[in-house]
């Protein structure tokens, strides 16, 4: 499923996101070989520092990382980019800095080293400051503008959910001449606390990623798509081809995958691209733009939602599962279970819909 993102002709919309899995030329080649449409370098900074240890934690659902920047200095990236670009494949450079001039200088360097586009890593929730740069539309505007003024390749700004109005920030990127936005970066988090040692999982605040942040990423992408006409790259908790399609249907032209690669390896990229191809073939979808934003029209305001008198129904009242999930979850007390028989009280049922989600056998449906 081809896509045109930032004017880059990609064979599919899958981009391996910035992270240590793309820490050098060799690892970038792995992502390209696995079938990714493009790969983004680990975030490059002016002054690479020694990483803290440990810095990544995972609880089976989501991951916390504290500071994942490249430990290769800019000089070294010339060599790594030569390796990364030695065969076919699109390579985007992720750069991060604190002032417009510093950021623009890094971007120029990476352009010179052969990057096909620049992603501005200005939304990291780690150690930098209490307020992430990407929560301030004005600063994002200044930074994007200075970079755009200094490079010829496309520039995308990576935005954060740690902003009250992400569409406003996306608008600032557009008016600064940015070619696109990617959303969302990781979200400030503390993964947990060990109640025996009374210590947090990692020793400082970090960024949360993985499946649990997907609903937040989806909402951010949709709200940007509904407010600003700018190419969007969806990020956050993508684990399979269905998640890719969710982002595309809410307005994304491409997607980035990071944590799934970190946990499962580059094979996951191959699996997702293959599954996506197969789905596209079955549905006769050749390009991303054919389905991009298709779900947006079903997103309504409260007043547009027509209130139909639906209540919960079940086809056959018989249920011999050793389970009372529906009974427990019905906050209105409309469901009872006697022996193996389900009893629904349609007077009490208010049509909230929760039972249709909690029943493992999907017995319930809303109807009227």
């Amino acid at each position: 499923m081809k896509t045109d993102f930032l004017g880059l002709k990609m064979k599919n919309p899958i981009i391996v996101s910035a992270g240590p899995w793309n820490r050098d030329g060799k690892s970038i080649r792995k992502g390209i070989a696995a079938g990714a449409g493009a790969v983004i370098t680990e975030t490059i900074v002016s002054d690479a520092l020694l990483d803290v240890r440990p810095r990544i934690a995972y609880n089976g659902q989501g991951a916390q990382n504290i500071r994942l920047y490249s430990d290769i200095q800019v000089e070294g990236w010339q060599r790594e980019m030569d390796i990364a670009k030695s065969k076919e494949g699109i390579v985007i450079a992720s750069v991060s800095a604190h002032t417009p001039s510093e950021l623009a200088y890094l971007a120029m360097k990476m352009e010179k080293f052969g990057a096909d586009a620049i992603e501005l890593g200005i939304s990291s929730p780690m150690g930098e400051s209490l307020e992430v740069v990407a929560s301030d539309a004005e600063r994002v505007y200044e930074m994007t503008k200075e970079v755009v003024r200094n490079v010829k390749i496309p520039v995308i700004a990576k935005l954060s959910q740690n902003a009250t109005n992400i569409s406003k920030v996306a608008k600032a990127v557009k008016s600064a001449g940015g070619s696109g936005v990617s959303a969302i970066n990781t979200i400030r988090c503390i993964l947990g606390v060990d109640i025996d040692t009374m210590e947090p999982t990692l020793s400082t605040y970090g960024g949360y990623s993985g499946a649990p942040i997907r609903p937040l990423g989806l909402a951010s992408v949709a709200s940007i798509a509904q407010a600003v006409d700018i190419p969007i790259c969806g990020i956050g908790g993508i684990e399979n081809y269905k998640n890719v399609l969710e982002y595309i249907m809410l307005g994304a032209s491409a997607v980035e995958i990071g944590t799934a690669v970190m946990i499962n390896g580059f094979e996951r990229i191959t699996a997702i691209t293959n599954d996506l191809e197969q789905w596209a073939e079955e549905k006769g979808v050749k390009e991303v733009k054919a389905i991009r934003g298709a779900a947006l029209k079903h997103l309504k305001s409260f007043e547009e939602i027509k209130i139909e008198p639906v209540v919960s129904h079940i086809d056959t009242p018989f249920c011999n599962a050793a389970c009372e999930a529906c009974v427990k979850a019905c906050v209105y007390g409309a469901i009872q279970k006697q022996e193996h028989k389900m009893i629904l009280d349609s007077e009490k049922c208010t049509g909230c819909g929760l039972c249709t989600f909690v029943c493992p056998d999907k017995k319930f449906m809303l109807d009227w």
């Binding site: 002016s46 002054d47 200095q73 800019v74 000089e75 070294g76 604190h98 002032t99 417009p100 001039s101 510093e102 200088y105 360097k109 150690g127 930098e128 400051s129 209490l130 400082t204 605040y205």
Partner: protein, 341 residues
């Protein structure tokens, strides 16, 4: 052993030996091997200075710093050296000791040694000095603001005024009103800007500046000690002191200890630079973090950009790096979250 003796021993001309060293691809393989063997046996190394004269390239850069005893300049020097080393360049470090004549002498000497580029840190030179260096075809980059009015040279700097404003604003936000500043006589322009930031923060709160609260001192630990003593003796002793460098803060805090004045309970401190020791003294120093190493790294990069490309466009490049208030204990701040971010 010199090149003539090598030539004699190998039975070739001096020119051939020279070609082996400088354009090995132009020499027949057998001849090359024979000469290289002789070179290895006789442990001959070319005279790099002479090489520089021939090739107009010595693979060395000059780095002038105002004071070798101030650790903040050593951090900058490390940044410059890190990049130069990666490029296989040697860095000649010169200690100008805040004296323009000494700085000029070093520049002269570096020019004679045909360095390929010069980095000036918080320089005291004038524009015409720098024009002179550039006329020799030697690119110049500034790190930190210079005292004179040097134009058309790339510069890496921080916003000293804005940084000082934030530092004093922080003291005001904690609740101090009687805030003094101890500033160093050097680097002159940068410290002038810090005073401007200090005055602006006070003015914004309607706090009128008191002349006796603005103290000049030599930019050393001793300078800080002496200036602090003057502040201690005031009838209305300040409750907080902002210093234009960490060294000044160290000296001033030492004076407080000698006079049994508690820091930060009786007098609070905010420094400037964030040199490594500021995290080790007691109480740990709240200070403006100047990205010193990064300034060195970026400055060296700008120099190599010009050296590699001879691109005039680079001469107007100004890179402003961000400083940051590093909140620790000496300011009397109590919100722990502020110390983390």
């Amino acid at each position: 052993m010199n090149i003539k003796e090598i030539a004699k021993k190998a039975g070739v001309s001096v020119a051939t030996v020279s070609r082996v060293l400088n354009h090995p691809e132009s020499v027949a393989p057998e001849t090359k091997e024979r000469i290289l063997n002789v070179i290895e046996e006789s442990e001959y190394t070319p005279n790099w200075f002479a090489r520089g004269l021939n090739f107009n390239k010595t693979d060395t850069i000059g780095l002038l710093i105002p004071n070798i005893l101030n650790p903040s300049y050593m951090e900058i020097a490390k940044g410059v050296e890190d990049v130069a080393h990666q490029k296989n360049y040697t860095t000649l470090l010169c200690n100008a000791e805040n004296a323009v004549e000494k700085e000029r002498k070093y520049v002269d000497s570096l020019q004679k040694r045909r360095v390929d580029g010069i980095v000036l840190v918080s320089s005291m030179l004038e524009n015409e000095d720098v024009e002179g260096i550039k006329k020799q075809g030697i690119p110049v980059v500034l790190i930190g603001e210079n005292k004179g009015d040097i134009k058309d040279v790339p510069i890496v700097r921080i916003d000293c005024e804005g940084a000082a404003y934030k530092a004093v604003r922080h003291l005001i936000d904690i609740g101090y009103k009687d805030i003094a500043i101890i500033y160093g006589t050097t680097p002159e322009r940068e410290n002038k800007r810090k005073i401007e930031g200090y005055i602006q923060a006070l003015a914004e709160e309607g706090i009128s500046e008191r002349e006796e609260y603005i103290q000049e001192a030599a930019n050393t630990i001793e300078g800080g000690y002496i200036a602090a003593k003057r502040l201690i003796d005031l009838k209305r002793r300040p409750r907080a002191i902002f210093t234009s460098s960490d060294l000044l803060a160290f000296g001033a805090i030492d004076a407080m200890k000698d006079h049994e004045i508690k820091v930060p309970e009786e007098v609070a401190f905010v420094g400037f630079d964030n040199i490594r020791m500021s995290n080790l003294i007691d109480p740990k120093l709240t200070t403006v973090e100047k990205p010193m190493h990064k300034m060195g790294v970026v400055g060296a990069r700008l120099l190599f950009d010009i050296m590699d490309t001879k691109d005039e466009e680079n001469n107007s490049r100004e890179i402003l790096l961000q400083s940051k208030l590093k909140i620790r204990k000496s300011c009397g701040h109590r919100e722990r979250i502020g110390e983390i971010f």
